[in-house]
Structures are given as C-alpha cells and as structure tokens.
C-alpha cells in the first residue's frame, strides 16, 4: 500500500437527543472509502449535507468515526488517543471555510501563525518567526502583518493567513474545507492561484472540498462526487466532467454558473421539506 491517506469504509452517525429523550440518528457518512496518494490533489464535491465536511473533521480528528479506519501511512489514526496522535497531527492540517471565525480576534497575526510551531516545540523563537515570515511572504503578505490583528485584514487576506498557519508544521496533507466559498470571485482566483503555487513549491497533497465543480476541477487532478454520505463517483477530474456516469454528477455540472452558457431550467425546480 503506497497510499499516504487511506479512508476505509468509514461511517459516522450522529445521535441527537430529542425533546422527550427520543434519540434521532443522522447518518452523515455511509461507508466512504477513499485513497489519496502522496502529491495528489483530490477534490470532493457535493451539496451541503453530503458529508464532505464531516469527512474532513474525521481526517483531522476533530471527531472520531463510528466505524471504519483512517490510515495515515498505514497507521490507523481513527481512534488514537490524543497523546499518541499529537506527533501525527502536524502531518495533516486544515483550512476552514469561514475566514472570520478561523482567526482568534485577540491574537496578532504573528501569534496566530507561529502558534502551531510553538505547540509542536523544539524550535527556537527566531527560527519560528523566520518561518512565519517566509510563509506569509509565500501567501503574499508583508512581514509587517505579524504585528497586526485579524480585524485589520480582508476576508481573502485572512484566508491566506489561515493557509500560512496550516503550513507552519510542514504538513504533507492539507485539507481545504471550502476555503474560497465565502470569498468574492476575484479574491477566490487569488487564493486558488496561491494554493496552486504552494502545492508545486512544497510538494503538498491536497484534499479540496467545495460545492462548486468548476473550482474543484481547476485545483484537483481527481474528483470525488459525494451525495448523502456516500461516494457517487470517482475519477480523473477531466473524465468526470466530460463523461459523467451518474445523473447527479451531470446535475452538478449543469448547475455551475458560467459566462456564455445558456441558462437551463433545472430538472426539478420544486423542493419539499
């Protein structure tokens, strides 16, 4: 097995207690399997509620799967204790969707970006600061940003700061959970370009999550289409676009708003609860 990250038949069930002690079960993930090779860029596309963010949370172990295994270089991390997990965490980092709540408003950018390395330990302060400046430079920010606070930055800049922070631990895998969904199209282009450059420069492996197939197509070599907690279709991005084998994939392709494409009435316009 040469896969860097292997997701093996993972399910996740959330139990919520109702008003009268009735438990409701929500199956967020139903036997999802996925294998990511080193250096690959994989896109996961699907609507909200398809389980793509749940999967991201399981991979960075903000949550544990109900069943199934998540293997990092062959080691099952799905139920690892926090102390065992800690040294492995630096290898997988995540960038979240919301540029506003992902940076602590009371810390300076310097504190925010250097924090992962401080937690990791074993690096001198000068070393840490040097690396933070280098990464900020890579995402197109001035070193003077270090002394400023998040509220002084725009959404796109904050998202770049989040990317710099995630790269501090020299991760191999970067999970990008809708990193551009909250941004203007023009800013999105900026962030996508930066991500492309970083991947080439730092030999990163990407897992890019989005509801927009055009964005996923741009950034990823391979596309995974998810729906209702299950994988619908997997294949090279080009292939998925030109020869989608599932009706749902076609629906996703149709839905992407694009200049010059005639507007077509969606197959089923109605919606019910």
């Amino acid at each position: 097995m040469s896969a860097l990250l292997e997701i093996d038949n993972v399910t996740k069930t959330f139990r919520t207690k109702g008003f009268f002690g009735k438990t409701k079960e929500v199956h967020a993930l139903n036997g999802v399997s996925l294998s990511i090779e080193k250096g690959e860029s994989i896109g996961i596309v699907g609507e909200s509620g398809c389980g793509k963010s749940t999967l991201a949370n399981l991979i960075v172990r903000l949550d544990e799967p109900t069943s199934g295994r998540i293997l990092l270089d062959g080691t099952d991390i799905s139920h690892m204790k926090e102390d065992e997990l800690r040294p492995l965490r630096r290898r997988i980092q995540i960038v979240f969707q919301d540029p506003y709540s992902s940076l602590s408003p009371r810390m300076t950018i310097g504190q925010i970006v250097t924090e992962p390395m401080r937690v990791l330990g074993g690096h001198s302060e000068a070393e840490t600061e040097e690396r933070a400046k280098e990464l900020l430079h890579m995402v197109g920010l001035q070193p003077s940003a270090m002394r400023r606070y998040p509220h002084e930055f725009s959404g796109g800049q904050r998202q770049r700061i989040s990317i710099a922070r995630a790269l501090m631990t020299e991760p191999e895998i970067l999970i990008l959970d809708e990193p551009t969904s909250a941004l203007d199209v023009s800013v999105q282009a900026q962030v996508l370009n930066i991500l492309t450059d970083l991947r080439a420069k730092l030999h990163l492996t990407y897992l890019f999550i989005s509801h927009n197939l055009a964005v996923v197509k741009y950034i990823s070599d391979k596309t995974v289409v998810m729906r209702k907690g299950a994988v619908v279709e997997t294949g090279p991005s080009e292939e998925i676009l030109t020869h989608p084998s599932e009706a749902y994939t076609r629906e996703l392709i149709e839905a992407v708003p694009m200049i010059g494409k005639p507007f077509r009435m969606p197959d089923d316009i109605a919606e019910s609860v």
Binding site: V60, R61, L62, E82, L85, R86, P87, R89, R90, I92, Q93, I94, F96, D98, S101, S102, L103, S104, P105, R106, M107, I112, E115, P116, V119, L120, P143, S144, R147, Y149, H151, S162, R165, A166, M168, T169
Partner: protein, 289 residues
C-alpha cells in the same frame, strides 16, 4: 512602509485604549472619579486633617465649618477624615470581593463550559441553587451564620457573587469553543488547558470585564448595606455604611453626618458604573482602529 517606520506609526495598545477613553467624556469622568477616590483612600494618612478615631467630645456634632469641613460626629470625630479612611476600606472591599469571586467564577465557568459532562452539571446545580435566593438575603443569612464582621461579610458576598461570573463565563465559553480558531488549535495538537487559557479565556473577557467593573460598585453597596444593618464593619471602623448606620438618629438635625458618607458611596458607585459602560467599547479590538 518599512517595518521600523510602521512600528513608530502604530501606537501601543495602552495608548490606544487611553485615546478611546479620552474620546468618551462619560467614561473619562468615571475614570476621574475612581482615580480620585483611590487616591484619597491611599493618601488618607497624609491628607486627613485628623485621626479618624480621635474623639473630641466638646466638639461633638459640629456643623461643617472651617475647622471641620464635613463637620463632626457624636464623638467629635472629624467626618472628613473618617470619609477619607472609609474610601480605603470601601475600595479594598469592592476590589477584593470582585477579584476573588470573578477569579473563581472564571475558572469554574471555563472548566464547566469547555469540558461539559458531570462537572458541568454539578456546577450548574450549585450555581442555580445560589442564584435562586435574592443575593442580599443570602449574603445576610450567611453573615449572620458566620457572625458579624467585615471579613465574614466579604466572604458571604464573594460566595453570593461567584455564580454570576461562573454563568457568564460558561455561556461565553460555550460560544467560543465552537469557533473555528479553537478547532484549528485542536488540529495542531494544542492541549485542552492551553486552548482554554490562550484561545477561549481572552475571547470571553470583554463582557466579564464590564461585569466586574460594575460589580465593584455593587459589592461596595452590598458591603455598606451590611454594615448599615450592623452585620458588616463594626463601629468605630470608619466604614461608610457603618457611619450612616450610627448617623441614622441624627439624620434630621445633623444632616452632614449621614450625607457625606452617603454621597461618597453614591459617587464611587457611579464612577465604577461609568467605567464599566465605557470599558466595553475599549476592550473590543474591532472598535480600535
């Protein structure tokens, strides 16, 4: 702009806070009042014209005049000197009560909010129990049980105040722990203790600081009230509440006796309340520019 130049342009955090305070006249008034009261309290031995406990029976119950600016009490003690020493006591009482109860409340609230589970349930049950009583009544009962005296009163007020800070902190923590920056910290392996200390607490402090400033005024009032009904500071301690208590019977003919300690309480509490209202804006980094 190069870095050095930018550092020079960017004022320090305290300077910024000060600048914002300057813009708001009411907050500034609050700061001025509190500063004055604290200063008077600290410098009481220097400023006070008389020993606060020195009796001078022939000069008893003198109206305010050149010799005694605030008049004298039934033992001929100088009321101005007693009010000055009273500032010491009141400020100390207010600050200690709030500091201790808020510190305990912040710790309990953070733990119960962040970790949840059994400990949370227990904390909630106890705070609910305490909050079920009117705080004044409970403080009264506790002091009565422990025996009158300033220290016991403070202890009672601290106990009564803890749940308020605990609840406030817990609510803040519940919101803060769902923020993405807390989740991000977990993904790079930050230990729970440091998550609480570095990420959660600093982002929850604003409403607490406001509550604490308002709380000082409140604590001073409760402590004075307890002294007034005889459970707190005991005569001849120059505590404002205790002074008013003994002044009761002279209130009609010798108005100055009750009026000056009363005014002191009023002004001090007003000062803290003005600061409390203003501090909210100052501590919010988004209002700093």
């Amino acid at each position: 702009m190069n870095e050095a130049a930018e550092a020079a342009v960017r004022p320090s955090r305290w300077k910024e806070i000060w600048e914002i305070a300057l813009r708001n006249k009411l907050t500034l008034t609050g700061f001025a009042i509190v500063a004055l009261v604290v200063l008077v309290g600290l410098l009481a031995p220097v400023l006070a014209p008389y020993d606060p406990n020195e009796m001078n029976i022939p000069a008893r119950l003198q109206a305010p005049g050149a010799e005694h600016l605030f008049g004298t009490d039934e033992m001929g003690r100088d009321i101005l000197s007693r009010v000055m020493y009273g500032a010491r006591i009141s400020i100390a009482v207010g600050v200690i009560i709030v500091a201790v109860s808020a510190a305990i409340g912040i710790v309990l609230g953070s733990l119960s909010g962040y970790f949840g589970g059994r400990a949370d349930q227990a904390v909630l049950a106890v705070t609910d129990m305490i909050l079920a009583f009117p705080s004044m009544v409970l403080a009264l009962a506790l002091t009565a049980a422990m025996g009158p005296g300033l220290l016991n009163t403070m202890l009672a007020v601290i106990i009564v105040r803890i749940p308020m800070y605990t609840r406030l902190m817990r609510g803040q923590v519940l919101v803060a722990k769902e923020q993405q920056y807390v989740r991000a910290a977990r993904t790079f392996g930050e230990k729970p203790f440091w998550i609480v200390v570095r990420h959660i607490v600093p982002n929850c402090l604003t409403p607490l600081m406001v509550q604490m400033t308002l709380g000082i005024g409140d604590a001073i009032l409760i402590a004075s009230s307890m002294s007034f009904i005889g459970l707190g500071a005991q005569p001849p301690t120059p505590e404002w509440g205790a002074m008013i208590s003994t002044a009761r019977i002279y209130a009609i003919d010798q108005w100055w006796y009750a009026a000056f300690p009363g005014l002191s309480i009023l002004i001090t509490i007003m000062g803290f309340n003005l600061i409390g209202d203003g501090i909210r804006d100052i501590l919010d980094p988004r209002s700093r520019k």
